[in-house]
Amino acid sequence: DVKVTQSSRYLVKRTGEKVFLECVQDMDHENMFWYRQDPGLGLRLIYFSYDVKMKEKGDIPEGYSVSREKKERFSLILESASTNQTSMYLCASSLTGQYSPLHFGNGTRLTVT
């Protein structure tokens, strides 16, 4: 079974802090994704990566950056956390291929106070 592990299940940070959300997958998947989930808005793509050191912006990249130095790890960075970034963050990975499903982690619920 594919395992996608997010480093924290719950996180509380202060406004202005730099925040790192870590995600690791163990199935040698080429593609990794960061989504944000908010009630009534569904899942919205922040960034994705299709190879090491490669990244592409999703639908809502503002205020976020990402890093993929190794194939199995994809980090989401909030350079200066703000209260409107309080949300559930979901990491996912997949093989290359249109029919390949996404495999998700358990999510990190981030609260910015």
């Binding site: 994704f33 899942l43 793509l45 249109q98 996404l102 998700f104």
Partner: protein, 117 residues
Amino acid sequence: AQTVTQSQPEMSVQEAETVTLSCTYDTSESDYYLFWYKQPPSRQMILVIRQEAYKQQNATENRFSVNFQKAAKSFSLKISDSQLGDAAMYFCAYRRSYTGTASKLTFGTGTRLQVTL
């Protein structure tokens, strides 16, 4: 840009009954892929079923089946013999066919399904 619409924020079904969750999408493409995901209270998103647009036959996975109407751009999920464990948030997702780098999934806003005794 593609959009996915789930018009039912909440649904309820009695145990052992059948329920249908609706999903429509907007695209100008002829080749694409559709998915249903389930998110139980544990938050782990799980793939329920998937459909390739060029296949006319509706996908089926045990108690889960889809009604794919390409012309109407509709992709509904039918859950038969509903069980308490089916209670979850259900998301419909669309992926366009691509030839380049990874293609993202676009998700709907979700339908929360309650299963009652």
